[in-house]
């Protein structure tokens, strides 16, 4: 049944000289460059494009514009691709979806006969008992209903991206109204972004071959010529950005538009939004209205004029206004026999060219007629039409059968108002237009064109200019006085045109009746019929939003484009309410958006320390800690541990958070936020600091060094510096403190040299006296190390004589190299996080965030010595006092396992066989020769004498509670 292509025509978008081919269900299909998958399939004679969601009925091409669910197919492994908008690429593989075994013979279409098993809301009524069948029923239903299958084995394709743009005025929709608005706004000097879903600007004009006589200076042009002329004008404007093949899927607050362009998500921020999204046709409700061969008029037009494909050989055109009549004459021109034009109006405007052409060609024009049924089994073979009385009620017994293979519906149109509603506009049902149209708009939103319910090109062009002008003018609020006459003139012109249009417009009558035998589909996505909706209302769901949730109409791939108005009208009819007006809420996204587009490129920010390349050169095993890449080990943690304890080691600690606090009230600020006192700290000394929130929970710890009376240097835990900076600034805001907090984290490289030989190594590189008397434990000095200005902090996280050396980031490698060279005679080795974890654990040093959680307080974490209750108020004082009054419930204790087993963080501490605590961290200590760690246990366990019981992989290991550090409990090595 393949159709021959029409001869080339300037409106066509296909290249007749450039053949392509692809496969459909294994069969080779010829196509031409510019074809969509659906147009090529249609030209090749394919009429059934999919099987319906519930009943597996045949579905053919309906809208041809990516609106309806009828042409969804699997393309190269991607399910649910709208083939009527997807361009053909050479060699692509297309498969039908949701069919078994094939599109032509789908055995599941048997469901259509058993529709009484699937009444409206059947999932609330059936498959309830017996419950044990639920898993089976779910499997069967999931297989029978659905929208294609995602291949979970497929490699993620990638290539997704996000983009952020700003513009003065966003114009959504590149049809005549949008083009006029963009031109007008741009000519007033505004930056305009024009977003259009089609590959080429022009909207519906692209497939209009009729001549327009009443559009001012461009009168006499055909639709596609007018589109070209407007397009040229827009592209010539330098301040119009054009986003083609881009869909606005949502309008959000602050003028933010979500725009999808292929695999890119554009966050477009616009000061003004002009919505010219147009309208779309949707099918009238009549018997068998889903049969292949029933096509929307705009769909037939697209096939005919854009792709040169004849949509049928003998057509019945159902119309109620000029659009349908011109379509009939266009079909005639293309050599298609028009069996009849069925028009619901009593009288046609005889003066129109298209009416005269129809008469000349001898086409039967039936006025006061409507369609009652599409006839046929696999495809339309005729139309049953019925005369209407003066009140537009049908005479069913006078129906006529007209043989045909194509029924074009130019009946109902719905303005695409979803974005208007999302932008804050109010919609209302306009009786004379039979449509839901925008009524109230927020000040930054403007509408023009078919979206206002006026489908009249002269009015559309004026509306576009007016909207563009007003949007531009509202941006330049100052100079509004002069051009108001211009607005008035446009408004007047528009009012005349609109009145004229409304005067002649008659909405298509709603004829369908519930008693009719054959199915009359309202929602083609979810297979919801007129009868289903009537029954839903009868069961009490008489409000459109509840009826939607009960029946699932408008919840399919088309998101109500094909059914929202019909359903609202039917709901109103059966509920007996006047509110035919309310349609369901259109939330974002307006069109389906692949999750990949929303996710965008996978962000994997990775922070590297200034010494990163040294670690790589040394072949370190790197690990990701938070967002930092850090060396885990260069050799083995045990080996490195031994070197630090016996000789000397060097570790990169640049990831530490580093903050400078300066100002005359710096000490007061630190006294407030830390539990310790810092106003008493002498210059040149360091104190350990612990930070709590107001309920007494530990939030951070680190060292605080006083460099001058009004100058402190803070270190924080690695991942927490951003938080601590904000925390300090927050307590400063409004507290009348003179202090400044500056993050130095990225600007400084830091390394820690530690071990019995650390002093010998470091003293080779600096003139500063490093002796225990001149530079004692917990002291800090400015110094020059290997020629670099450095801050030396004598602290000992790992429990050995050592210095933390902070130098400018750019000097990091120089100092590192110098230390490694100077340390060569002591066989210095670099050590990583692995060794550091063991070293600190042997000293029972707590890591905030690893050993503590959102319920840990210093009193229970064995850090009471840092809390100075005797000082004035500090953050957390009140909370900690409350804990003290209440009494401690848990305690963080050190433990050493008795046998050779290995514990790790997260394991349960058991008391009488019940979990009562947990291991916070643990590691094998080469010094102690066994596994040591920290654990949270109830206080009675902590003070008890019986051994600790830790559940390790199903067996219970015994452990001793150790009060002191496992290594150097007196801190002699640290201070030496």
């Amino acid at each position: 049944m393949s159709t021959t292509r029409l001869p080339p025509h300037p409106a066509q978008v296909i290249d007749h000289e450039h053949p392509l081919s692809f496969t459909f269900a294994g069969e080779r299909i010829p196509a031409r460059a510019g074809d969509t998958i659906a147009s090529a399939l249609y030209a090749a004679g394919q009429r059934t494009f999919s099987r319906s969601f519930k009943y597996h009925r045949r579905r053919g091409l309906l809208c041809g514009a990516g609106q309806c669910p009828n042409c969804l197919m699997n393309v190269d492994g991607t399910p649910s691709v709208r083939t009527c908008t997807e361009p053909v690429r050479q060699g692509m593989r297309v498969q039908p979806q949701n069919v078994w075994p094939s599109l032509k013979h789908d055995l599941l279409s048997i469901i259509d006969r058993f529709d009484w098993l699937l009444p409206v809301g059947f999932y609330y009524k059936t498959f309830i008992r017996p419950r044990f069948l639920w898993p089976l029923a779910e499997k069967v239903l999931r297989r029978a209903a659905g929208l294609g299958v995602i291949n979970t084995q497929a490699e993620p394709k990638g290539g997704y991206d996000h983009q952020y743009r700003h513009t003065d005025i966003a114009v959504i929709g590149g049809g005549p109204a949008g083009l006029a608005a963009a031109c007008e706004a741009a000519s007033l000097g505004c930056q305009v972004t024009l977003i259009d879903a089609q590959p080429e600007l022009g909207g519906h004009l692209r497939f209009q071959t009729r001549t327009y006589a009443d559009i001012g200076e461009r009168s006499g042009l055909t639709g596609f010529e007018l589109a070209r002329s407007l397009r040229e004008k827009v592209t010539a404007q330098p301040n119009i950005d054009i986003l083609s093949s881009a869909t606005v899927f949502g309008s959000y607050e602050g003028g933010l538009l979500g725009v999808m362009q292929a695999k890119r998500l554009i966050h477009l921020r616009a000061k003004r939004v002009v919505i010219t999204t147009g309208s779309h046709e949707y099918p009238a409700v009549f018997q068998n209205n889903d049969l292949p061969g029933v096509m929307l008029g705009s769909g037939a037009r697209r096939l005919l004029h854009l792709y040169g494909v004849q949509p049928g050989t003998r057509a019945v055109v159902v119309s109620h206004d000029e659009t349908g009549l011109t379509l009939a004459s266009e079909l005639l021109t293309a050599g298609i026999q028009v069996a009849a034009v069925v028009d619901s109006r009593y009288r046609l405007p005889e003066a129109q060219d298209c009416v005269q052409q129809l008469h000349r060609s001898g086409v039967e024009v039936l006025t006061s007629y409507a369609i009652q049924e599409a006839h046929g089994t696999a495809h339309v073979d005729g139309a049953l039409v019925v005369p209407l009385d003066a009140r537009q009620r049908p005479f069913p017994h006078a129906s006529r059968f007209i043989p045909c293979d194509l029924i074009c519906l130019s009946t109902d149109r719905a303005p695409a108002t979803a974005l208007v509603a999302q932008s804050g506009g109010e919609l209302h049902y306009d009786e004379t237009l039979g449509q839901t149209v925008p009524q109230q708009l927020p000040p930054q939103v403007f509408c023009a064109g078919d979206v206002t319910g006026i489908h009249h090109l002269p009015a559309t062009l004026v509306q576009g200019r007016l909207a563009g002008f007003q949007a531009a003018q509202s941006l330049h609020a100052a100079d509004t006085s002069a051009p108001s006459s211009h607005i008035q003139a446009l408004q007047q012109e528009l009012d005349t045109l609109e009145q004229e249009y409304r005067h002649h417009y008659e909405p298509y009558p709603q004829l369908s009746h519930v008693w009719e035998k054959k199915k009359q589909f309202v929602c083609v996505c979810e297979d919801i019929t007129h009868k289903d909706l009537a029954q839903g209302v009868a069961e009490g769901f008489d409000e459109v939003e509840t009826l939607k949730r009960y029946s699932t109409f408008s919840m399919g791939p088309c998101q109500g484009r094909m059914c929202a108005t019909s359903s609202a009208r039917l709901c109103a009819r059966y509920a007996g309410s006047e509110l035919a007006t309310r349609t369901t809420t259109a939330r974002p996204p307006v069109t389906p958006v692949p999750l990949g587009v929303l996710a965008g490129r996978r962000p994997q920010p990775e922070k590297h320390t200034p010494l990163h390349h040294r670690h790589i050169a040394l072949g370190a095993e790197m690990m990701l800690l938070g967002s930092w890449k850090r060396p885990y080990a260069y050799t083995t943690p045990d080996e490195e541990h031994r070197t630090v304890r016996e000789r000397v080691g060097l570790i990169d600690v640049s990831t530490l958070g580093k903050l400078e606090v300066r100002g005359k009230d710096a000490a007061r600020l630190l006294d407030t936020v830390y539990t310790h006192t810092f106003s008493t700290l002498r210059v040149g000394r360091i104190r350990y600091g612990l930070m709590c929130d107001d309920s007494g929970i530990i939030i951070d710890d680190g060292t605080v060094s006083r460099l001058a009376d009004d100058h402190f240097f803070l270190t924080t835990t690695t991942g927490n510096v951003e938080f601590v900076e904000q925390w300090l600034k927050w307590w400063m805001a409004g507290a009348d403190l003179c202090a400044h907090v500056t993050s130095m984290t990225g600007g400084l490289a830091a390394m820690n040299i530690a071990g019995p030989n650390a002093r010998q190594v470091l003293s080779q590189l600096t003139d500063t006296d490093l002796s225990a008397e001149a530079f004692p434990y917990m002291a800090c000095r400015r110094a020059t190390v290997a020629g670099a200005p450095a801050l030396l902090l004598r602290i000992g996280f790992v429990g050995e004589t050592g210095w933390e050396i902070h130098v400018p980031a750019e000097c990091g490698e120089q100092v590192w190299d110098a230390i490694m060279t100077a340390g060569a005679e002591f066989q210095i080795v670099p050590f990583g996080v692995g060794a550091q974890r063991i070293l600190r654990l042997e000293k029972k040093h707590v890591i905030v965030g690893q050993d503590t959680d959102a319920l840990s307080n210093p009193l229970e974490a064995d850090l009471e010595w840092v809390v100075k209750f005797n000082k004035d108020d500090f953050i957390g004082k009140r909370g900690l006092q409350a804990i003290q009054e209440r009494g401690r419930r848990h305690k963080l204790i050190g433990f050493a396992l008795r046998d050779s087993s290995r514990a790790e963080g997260g394991q349960a501490v058991v008391v009488n066989g019940q979990p009562a605590g947990r291991v916070a961290s643990a590691a094998f200590s080469p010094t102690a020769g066994k596994c040591v760690g920290l654990a949270w246990v109830p206080v009675e366990v902590a003070s008890g004498t019986s051994p600790l019981q830790i559940r390790i992989n199903g067996t219970v290991a015994q452990a001793d509670i150790i009060d002191d550090a496992f290594y150097d409990p007196q801190g002699e090595r640290l201070r030496s």
Partner: protein, 83 residues
């Protein structure tokens, strides 16, 4: 959430640049009753309407300021630095 927020220091920016710091509340003096203190720690007004709240311009000047926002509409009436 995609509204614009006028940082008193940097001007109008996308809300993505900011971190919300929650409702503005005065920290009560240490002398208040435990009941009052617990209210301060754990109870929020969570108003459906105009709320004064803390915002931090994380991707900008890195300063805290106060904003008067209607939580129903996300319309920001005023922003100012705390003094």
């Amino acid at each position: 959430m995609s509204f614009l927020l006028a940082c008193p220091n940097c001007g109008e920016r996308s809300v993505y640049e900011f971190r919300s710091g929650g409702e503005f509340r005065q920290r009560p003096p240490a002398s208040v009753s435990s009941h009052e203190w617990a209210r301060y720690l754990y109870i929020r007004k969570n108003e459906a309407g105009e709320t004064t709240e803390w915002w931090y311009h994380q991707l900008g000047c890195r300063r805290w300021f106060l904003a008067v926002r209607d939580t129903r509409t996300n319309l920001v009436k005023d922003t100012y630095e705390h003094d």
